[in-house]
Subunit: 408 residues, 2 copies
């Protein structure tokens, strides 16, 4: 019978083998994103980070990661027991994707939770920011995050969206709420805003403080292809080279499938004055693509680190062609800004943001559009996240600034 028990708990015991031995002599702590039982990745008081993995038979190991982790890749050093480790300098606070490179292959850290990014499950580390608790779970009323499956006529397939309902939604039978559609970036999916982004806690905290109006937040999967389209098109390099084709299938999902589903399933206020759309990076591009064509549906529009498309030729757009062109407020986005006075009257909020540490290309694309639009008399809010790059800490701050401006 002892054997039975051993067999049962073998999986559980594996927990203790994922990490390396605790280092009692230092003051580091496993990151919030470290799986229970693992000791690494761990974060030191100075925000430097220790990564480790037992790999006696590896020939080379490095840590590499996305924006904000630092100027890696960082070579790991093999210890006497076959555990490779490295402590990297303090990174930018916030969430960062990372991975190990083991004999040249990018692999996940078994000590970390994974997050969908780069088109696959990827390790991620949460680095605390001193004094920043706007995205922490706190002792305030909490909303729910609901997985909602719905049929899309556009794609001919079931889809899953996540829906944040504000605290006490179920108790307030007669209350109706405004809706924010909030989209992830390229290579991410509908899980991004509640896992990497902590959107639910940002909203809980804002609502508890009376700073944001209770609202429903819908986070859908930003990929779609029309029923009958070649299966290879989504995910191929051709897909995003034809932005119009790539985004227009998702546009149809949003207009014809998602919004009707949400309005039928939740107690929404189903009009443009109570509907917003925003997104990060690719999701920001999609927001501008969709919302600027549908003023009848959206009065609030936000693009977080979303590059600005100089012009939108709805006939036969290709990325290369459009990105070669200069941003012209008269023609951009099908002429949505051509009459600034009419735009200002119609749109309650246009919000654009970028991180101060993003690459020149992002900053010049977004900053240039802000300048041109303001010069033309278009009213907009512009927000710069200090010291953060093309990464989730930028987008968490964006949401924290954006959400209080909605539906007021």
């Amino acid at each position: 019978m002892k054997q039975l028990f051993s067999s049962l708990v073998i999986a559980w015991f594996a927990l203790g083998q994922s990490g390396v031995a605790a280092r009692a002599e230092d003051q580091s702590m496993p990151a919030a994103s470290t799986v229970p039982g693992a000791q690494t990745p761990s974060i030191h008081p100075d925000r430097s980070i220790t990564f480790a993995i037992k790999a006696p038979d590896a020939d080379s190991l490095q840590v590499a990661g996305g924006d904000g982790l630092g100027a890696g890749p960082f070579p790991m050093v093999k210890g006497a027991d076959g555990t490779w480790s490295v402590t990297i300098p303090a990174g930018v606070p916030g969430f960062h994707y990372y991975w190990f490179v083991l004999n040249g292959v990018s692999v996940n850290d078994p000590g970390s939770e994974t997050f969908f990014g780069y088109g696959k499950e990827t390790s991620g580390i949460e680095v605390p920011e001193a004094g920043a608790d706007f995205y922490s779970i706190k002792n305030v009323p909490h909303g729910e995050v609901r997985a909602k499956w719905y049929w899309s006529k556009t794609t001919g397939a079931w889809r899953r969206a996540f829906v944040y309902t504000p605290p006490d939604y179920d108790e307030h039978h007669n209350t109706r709420y405004p809706v924010l559609i909030l989209q992830h970036g390229s290579g991410e999916d509908e899980t991004g805003w509640t896992r990497q982004g902590r959107a639910q806690f940002i909203l809980d905290n804002l609502i508890a403080a009376g700073r944001a109006r209770p609202m429903i937040v819908v986070m859908d999967r930003g990929y779609a292809q029309k029923a009958g389209a070649p299966a290879a098109s989504v995910g191929s390099s051709a897909w995003l080279q034809n932005l119009h084709l790539a985004f227009s299938a998702f546009e149809e999902v949003v207009i014809h499938d998602l919004i009707p589903t949400i309005d039928a399933s939740y107690r929404t206020i189903p009009d443009r004055e109570h509907r917003a759309m925003a997104g990060l990076s690719m999701g920001g591009m999609q927001t501008l693509f969709i919302a600027l064509q549908h003023f009848d549906l959206f009065a609030y529009i936000g693009s977080f680190s979303g590059p600005i498309i100089p012009s939108l030729d709805t006939g036969n757009l290709t990325a290369e062609r459009n990105l070669r062109e200069r941003f012209d407020t008269k023609t951009a986005y099908g002429g949505a800004f051509a009459d600034p006075a009419a735009f200002n009257k119609r749109v309650r909020l246009l919000w654009l943001g970028v991180g101060s540490a993003e690459s020149d290309q992002f900053r010049s694309s977004i900053g240039g559009a802000v300048e041109a639009l303001r010069g033309a008399g278009v009213r907009l809010e512009y927000f710069e996240s200090k010291g953060t790059a093309h990464e989730w800490q930028t987008w968490r701050r964006d949401l924290y600034d954006f959400a209080p401006r909605l539906f007021q």
Copy 2:
């Protein structure tokens, strides 16, 4: 500007690099659990499975996995382009954990979704079962799966449970529902039943067919330690060696935190006749541990592949001590079965199940208890899943048999 665009979509393009080139000459298809854009893992018409990963600098690569994948590990073979691959024989249908062993290190397959198992994020493959669609998403009304955060006084920490609400829960303002608490296994977490298990689709399908009563299903995290307990205890090998200590903190969470939260947050019927508990493996052990001590709270009890603890000494239980002892219906579980007539009157359903391909230890533990209990006159349902081992296909079938028997 072209450079900006390239920078933006770099992550997206990585999608196409996760898998290997499509093999047009065969009839294999990427598994349902393969990430979009990846070509492998792929499943052939005969249910054999091809795994592949590009690793020009690896010295050795294998595929290994959990119950049901076959008698691995399976060596992979390096191709001229540095891609290693192997096609393994037809496995058992259903969901199987697996991983690559790269130079001796267990790593995830970048082509696969990950699932929390073995105490970490682990690749998994969904192998279709011919004719079995009871866990497929179908054109029937769908419930929601809600992430519910709640404060636990027992642990002094926030916890997350997932709550399935049946179709049209929001529309039927005046309807109250019975509750099933449904727990994952060792090394898994609260995501297991809706990701690996597809419990929401099983319930949707049963309810649509009129075979199960609409119910709320609560899936909590089966780990807990009392506030102030040493942080190292959960996840250490000591934890499950003291079952009473390990399970009693979770018991307190269920009794004092979870059930009151659920009854306060959802339209439940808050009495024992409308409350069930079930779980798989460790979750089955926890169910028996908790429910058999609280007949005042539970009238329906299910253990899916949960080893039977021969006796329950609530004073100072250790696993070894108990598993050495024979199962005695008079003393087992604190005497819960000592008076079979009283038990049969009080408990509406005791349900025990095991897979026919599980190890002798599981089958003899559970089968022996079934025989002893029936011999003593205890009324129970026993279900054997044909051809499946200690794996999710067993537990999906268990739920499909168990749920229709509840609250009738």
